[in-house]
């Protein structure tokens, strides 16, 4: 790891100021993406600004229309939260399946979505459950947030404060993990939000996306037969040593089918 200066921010304002004062700064949350990248010299910031001392960023609150999760809440905190388990069980499930126990004790929801790794789990929940991302300066709709591989709508210095999820009981997350890293080779989140079905897919393409045709068909009739003729185009899928594009496209459909089965048995 190259050397750098470390600053501990006590407030959002001071974090923003320090970022502004630096030519090359980065925020540090759980560090479980950033530190491995710095160790491998893929990233070499001059200033690292630690967000862990900012009060209130770890809270998980029940609000009038949903659950608000602080950006610095760890995956273990989300997986173990009684509020999340009661009101959005699929989110607790998803968080409990990220990486391994040690990773879940450090990694945070804010860090995960700010990073937008194509194989990360949380982007599927944020887009699939239509959450809102609250930053130091605005609120961003889930559909506007994830831009491309490792790219989001965040400005360089913008800090995520919290993510607001609606309460949704009828939803499932189906993950086909890479056997070595446990990242999602494909992860499918299916949510039934009143009469509408939403499907968000991670791992398969450069960035999380919605399966629009499948959503329309399933919103009309929630059954496996209604999607039997549909396919996902493999030309937009990732193709790498872990799986071919065709295989990923096929896997998406298989997982959607399993999700429909699971939610029908409910």
């Amino acid at each position: 790891m190259y050397s750098f200066k470390m600053e501990r921010a006590e407030s959002l304002t001071s974090a923003l100021e320090r970022f502004g004062d630096s030519d090359d700064a980065v925020y540090l949350a759980g560090g479980h993406t950033l530190i491995p990248a710095m160790k491998q010299r893929l990233r070499a910031p001059e200033d690292v600004i630690d967000l862990s001392g900012i009060p209130g960023l770890r809270d998980i609150l029940v609000t009038q229309d949903g659950i608000e999760i602080g950006a610095m809440a760890t995956h273990a905190a989300v997986a173990g939260s009684a509020h999340v388990k009661t009101h959005i069980p699929v989110l607790a499930d998803l968080a409990g399946g990220i990486g391994d126990r040690q990773v879940r004790n450090r990694g945070t929801i804010g860090g995960s979505i700010a990073n937008n790794d194509p194989a990360a789990d949380y982007p599927a929940a944020v887009l699939g459950l239509d959450a809102r991302i609250v930053t130091d300066r605005r609120t961003i709709a889930s559909g506007d947030f994830f831009k491309a591989m490792f790219e989001t709508a965040l400005e360089p210095d913008e800090i995520i404060r919290a993510i607001q999820f609606p309460k949704i009981e009828r939803a499932a997350y189906l993950k086909f993990p890479n056997p070595a890293s446990r990242y999602a080779m494909v992860g499918v989140l299916i949510a039934c939000i009143s009469d509408e079905v939403r499907i968000a897919i991670t791992g398969a393409a450069p960035s999380v996306f919605r399966a629009a045709d499948f959503e329309v068909a399933l919103s009309e009739s929630f059954s496996e037969s209604s999607i039997s003729e549909l396919t996902l185009p493999s030309d937009t899928m990732n193709d790498d040593i872990h799986a071919s594009a065709d295989y990923r496209a096929h896997l998406c459909k298989v997982l959607i089918g399993r999700g429909v089965q699971m939610l029908s048995d409910h």
Partner: protein, 158 residues
């Protein structure tokens, strides 16, 4: 340079280290607690697992500078008065190791698991040890050791 105050295995310590030192660098090179191992550079093997403020974490993926004021337990902190911790005893008795490189991390993960989870079937243990890799692949006996160690820990409590 950073000055970091830590409670290490029950003792107050202050260490001075470079800002880019990881927690495992400090544990091994400054505190000379070499039971905590480094088995990879991809945060995957778990050989470096320690308890930081009561949670199992990978010490290779945390900066020492993030730990100021924290309480740290390493494998050396488990035995009390020269008597092995029940989990150490169980790994010994069940032959839950071959070369032993992964063992400190396995034991630290297993102890954290027993502290936090109520129900520990062999299947649950297998998936909970996802973050610890044994290159000798002695998983069968590792799982048996965790089952026995968990029982030993419960007995010690009661």
């Amino acid at each position: 340079m950073e000055a970091i105050k830590l409670q290490v295995n029950g003792r107050k310590r202050t260490v001075h280290c470079a800002t880019n030192a990881t927690l495992v660098d400090v544990i091994r090179e400054q505190l000379h607690l070499t039971g905590t191992h480094v088995g990879c550079d991809t945060s995957q093997c778990g050989a470096c697992t320690v308890h930081l403020d009561g949670d199992a974490v990978k010490a290779c993926t945390i900066l020492a500078a993030q730990c100021d004021g924290s309480t740290l337990t390493t494998i050396e902190g488990l035995a009390q008065n020269e008597v092995h911790h029940p989990m150490q005893q169980a790994f010994n008795e069940c032959h839950g190791l071959q070369c032993g490189f992964c063992t400190p991390g396995m034991i630290m993960s297993a102890v954290d698991l027993v502290h936090k989870e109520e129900e520990l079937s062999p299947e649950a243990i297998r998936s909970a040890l996802e973050g610890n890799i044994c290159r000798c692949t002695g998983y069968q006996n590792i799982v048996a050791a965790v089952v026995q160690g968990a029982a030993g820990m419960k007995e010690q409590q009661s």
